[in-house]
């Protein structure tokens, strides 16, 4: 029985990755889980300069979910390459470096700096970042900007290039298609939704940044629909993310068209979650007599009379 993932230069032993910003740099949780059981580790978004992140409160719990406004707090590219990568290189899993930036030049600068570093299996580009040149408008909410980032980075690397899409758009399929057209090897989705929590006693927003990123089991239905929509529009493999807590959730994502999945918020509840999910998926395949897990990808049974309302076919 085969659970591995192979696409171009990316080879994962199973279909489970841990999501950026929810697993640190791996070393923090090595005492809680066997990192070698995880298909891939996506590192916390790295920017050119270190970022201190937002003021507290950065976290709010919501029904079956949570909000965060971490503000991309990270060590910056120099400390990342000097202190975090050496540890990760020795981990028996694939390392995917997630990049965040506030200008297209900064994305390029970071990627070019990383090109010299060994032990990186892929890049994941976080386009859910404010573009300072456009007054803080999120890159990922504009197809042209998402396309331009993809094009510029594609020119500069032969490594596996994943663009991580934001769900805070009307037709995510258009974004996935644009990434494919500009040469991306894969798209991952979803990043967090925009959410908010209010304290009625103080009449203040709970988070210091007023709104924050919504994640956890509560967002799974949204994530499934977005993956399903994107999968209808592209041929490149899709990595499904959003509210995955168990192997059953993971299988749902494969059925709607994801080739692999990422585990995010679940790591906070159980740092061993990703390893357990990988085991659970393998056990399910054994039980169902599935020889290659690839059989499940996009295997959702939809009757020809059924169609999802509001899905606009993407122009070829």
């Amino acid at each position: 029985m085969n659970t591995a993932f192979h696409s171009k230069s990316l080879h994962l032993k199973n279909r489970v990755l841990v999501a950026s910003g929810t697993f640190g740099y791996g070393n923090e949780v090595a005492r809680f889980t066997d990192l070698s059981k995880i298909g891939g580790i996506v590192t916390k978004s790295v920017s050119w300069k270190p970022r201190i992140g937002n003021a507290p409160m950065r976290i709010a719990e919501t029904p079956s979910g949570m909000l965060n406004s971490i503000g991309l707090a990270n060590v910056g590219i120099e400390e990342f390459t000097a202190e975090k990568l050496p540890y990760l290189r020795n981990v028996d899993s694939q390392i995917i470096v997630n990049i965040a930036a506030s200008t297209i030049d900064e994305y390029i600068q970071i990627l070019e700096r990383l090109e010299d570093e060994e032990g990186i299996a892929a890049y994941e580009i976080n386009v859910s970042c404010p573009n300072v040149k456009e007054g803080g408008l999120n890159f990922g909410t504009r197809c042209e900007m998402t396309g331009e980032i993809t094009r510029e980075l594609r020119k500069r690397t032969d490594r596996f290039l994943i663009i991580k899409l934001t769900p805070n758009v009307t037709h995510i399929a258009d974004f996935a298609k644009t990434c494919q057209d500009e040469g991306a090897d894969s798209v991952s989705l979803i990043n967090t939704l925009v959410g908010m929590a209010v304290n009625i006693k103080t009449r203040r927003p709970v988070l210091s940044t007023i709104t924050g990123g919504f994640s956890g089991p509560a967002i799974k239905p949204v994530a499934l629909a977005k993956v399903y929509e994107a999968a209808k529009a592209v041929k490149i493999p899709i990595i499904g993310i959003g509210g995955i807590m168990s192997w059953k959730d993971a299988i749902e994502f494969l059925l709607v068209g994801a080739s692999a999945i990422q585990v995010g918020t679940a790591n906070f509840l159980d740092p061993d979650a990703a390893a357990k999910i990988a085991e659970g998926m393998a056990a399910y395949c054994e039980e169902e007599g599935i020889e290659d897990i690839q059989e499940l990808v996009g295997a959702l049974k939809v009757h020809e009379t059924q169609s999802a309302p509001g899905f606009v076919p993407v122009k070829a």
């Binding site: 949570m66 089991p217 918020t265």
Partner: protein, 261 residues
């Protein structure tokens, strides 16, 4: 040893108004956990409430660990209804212990409200080290006082219904002769405004002081970046309460009035 597993509840008794002490048997934890460290606790196997709640280790009885909690919101309401048929999910030990080994003479323990939780185990450890202790415990009123496991606590209540009428710090100033204490070191835990006041007092008097802080936490393990506290020693403004703390030297912490919930 680090644990990440479910334990059956051994006992869960009410010890004061809205205050409970819950025990579970975990020899591997009981052996290794140190005063000031905490556990991150899941109160349900369902996904609502979603996140773990951090609780200080309060005491050890042989193989059993005890946490002491005040009923506040959803998580602690669920905890308060638990009995021997219930299970809690525990990750720990997390965070850094109190600086018991630092160079000082007398340990001054200052607890406000449920901030009393980490001090029974600290009291035991200090006794084993042969340290002198002075302990002050504050609560809203007498019915909320919990002083088990503390050494000769001096009590203060906001409404004067038991002990000194006022807060812990004023009680200390009024009832303890500072000059009689041999090179004191304060260990404080409680609401942030109280810790802020104790910090200012320690800075003014030059007394060594350590604060056990609370913030929101999503992971407790250093992977979410959700628990920042502004600190002078942090290379980039913020330290993480879960992995750099929860115990900090008082002069390292920068409090802001508006962050007091």
């Amino acid at each position: 040893m680090t644990v990440n597993q479910w334990y059956s509840v051994r006992s869960n008794r009410k010890v004061a108004e809205e205050t409970y002490a819950l025990r579970f048997s975990a020899p591997e934890l009981a052996e290794t956990i140190k005063p000031g460290q905490f556990l991150n606790v899941r109160v349900t196997k369902e996904h609502d409430p979603l996140l773990r709640r951090p609780y200080s280790i309060s005491n050890i009885y042989g193989d059993e660990c005890e946490i002491v909690y005040a009923v506040e919101g959803r998580g602690t309401n669920i905890l308060s209804r638990m009995d021997e048929t219930s299970e809690i999910g525990v990750i720990g030990p997390l965070g850094n212990p109190f600086g018991m080994e630092k160079d000082y003479g007398t340990a001054v323990i200052m607890a406000g409200g449920i901030g009393v939780a980490p001090f029974p185990i600290l009291t035991t450890a200090l006794k084993e080290m042969g340290k002198n202790t002075v302990t002050l415990v504050g609560a809203r009123n007498g019915t909320r006082l919990f002083t088990d496991g503390l050494a000769d606590p001096i009590v203060a209540t906001d409404d004067g219904s038991a002990g000194y009428h006022g807060n812990v710090l004023d009680c200390f100033k009024a009832q303890v002769d500072l000059s009689s204490l041999d090179n004191p070191r304060i260990f404080a835990c409680g609401p942030t405004p109280m810790l802020h006041a104790i910090q200012q007092y320690a800075l003014e008097t030059g007394i060594q002081c350590e604060l056990s802080l609370e913030t929101e936490m999503a992971c407790g393990m250093g992977i979410c970046q959700g628990c920042p506290i502004e600190s002078k020693s942090a290379p980039r403004k913020y330290s993480l309460v879960c992995t750099d703390g929860p115990c900090f030297e008082a002069d390292d912490i920068v409090f802001h009035q508006h962050t007091h919930a």
